[in-house]
């Protein structure tokens, strides 16, 4: 729990200033990279859950995450290609990936109901973090209108995921 909140806070700090404070504003190539990375992370977590989860609602939720995040990332790839933007790796993406790798390893040690609970709790926390970053950082910073629109669409989708995850978490109790 503390580890999870710590990771979420670290990501928030990075996204809400911290490491990026001096660069004033995220560029579109950086924003595209962060958004895409955030999707890849959730797909990896969901794929782990699809093999490890025991509860059928948790398994279904994981399948929903793979389906939706793959669809959004496919759109993102098409958009960056169209705009001729090369996603650019950055400290926020790196921090997100590092935390995700740690989380994957941590969840990998759990099994059964303990895994289900931890995965869903992390999904709630992770979507909260990403949605907040989208709302306060990524969307306001995006310059290109089409990128901004896709991020807004993503936010609507991921807010749905957050609520869905909360619902599944409540059912597990």
């Amino acid at each position: 729990m503390f580890i999870r909140c710590g990771a979420a806070l670290a990501a928030m700090t990075l996204l809400s200033g911290g490491a990026l404070a001096e660069s004033a504003k995220l560029t579109d190539p950086q924003i595209a990279h962060i958004a895409y990375t955030a999707g890849v992370i959730d797909i990896a977590a969901a794929k782990q859950a699809e093999t490890k989860a025991s509860n059928k609602d948790v398994k279904a939720f994981a399948a929903d995450m793979v389906r939706d995040h793959e669809a959004v990332n496919k759109q993102a790839l098409e958009l960056v290609k169209k705009l001729n933007v090369k996603p650019e790796d950055n400290d926020t993406s790196k921090a997100l990936s590092k935390q995700a790798a740690d989380k994957l390893a941590e969840l990998g040690k759990l099994n059964g109901a303990a895994f289900d609970k931890a995965y869903v709790a992390n999904e709630v926390a992770y979507h909260k973090t990403v949605n907040s970053a989208l709302e306060t950082q990524l969307i306001p910073s995006a310059s290109n209108a089409e990128l901004k629109d896709l991020l807004k669409t993503g936010l609507k989708i991921f807010q749905g995921h957050e609520q869905h995850a909360e619902h599944v978490a409540a059912e597990l109790k």
């Binding site: 929903d64 389906r67 669809a71 609507k156 749905g160 609520q163 869905h164």
Partner: protein, 106 residues
């Protein structure tokens, strides 16, 4: 003579009059940004429901009572001919927040 000439017209009018109420309607329901609209729709048995998915995600229209389970792929339209009357609540299995109702008259 004149009444004889009118007879086909009368027949045609009668046919028309009976054909109109029997004609099934197509009711369009849009799914966009994970919202179903209209969230409450009315239809009759024999009508066709046309779900238009404007999202980049797949959706379903899944009846809570098990009457139908239609998958609507991203940016596509799926249809269903209503066979049974009743008030049916349905939702998207992939996005359970998406909820709507169909009031189906006999």
């Amino acid at each position: 003579m004149q009444t004889g000439d009118l007879r086909p017209i009368v027949v045609a009018l009668m046919l028309g009059a009976t054909a109109v109420p029997a004609h099934a309607a197509t009711i369009q329901i849009v799914m966009e940004n994970l919202v179903v609209s209209p969230a409450a729709a009315s239809a009759k048995v024999g009508d066709t429901i046309e779900w238009v998915n404007k999202d980049i995600l797949a959706h379903t229209a899944t009846a809570r009572n098990g009457d139908f389970d239609v998958t609507i792929p991203p940016k596509q339209t799926a249809t269903l001919v209503l066979k049974k009357a009743g008030d049916v609540a349905y939702y998207c299995r992939f996005h359970p927040n998406m909820k709507a109702t169909l009031a189906i008259a006999p």
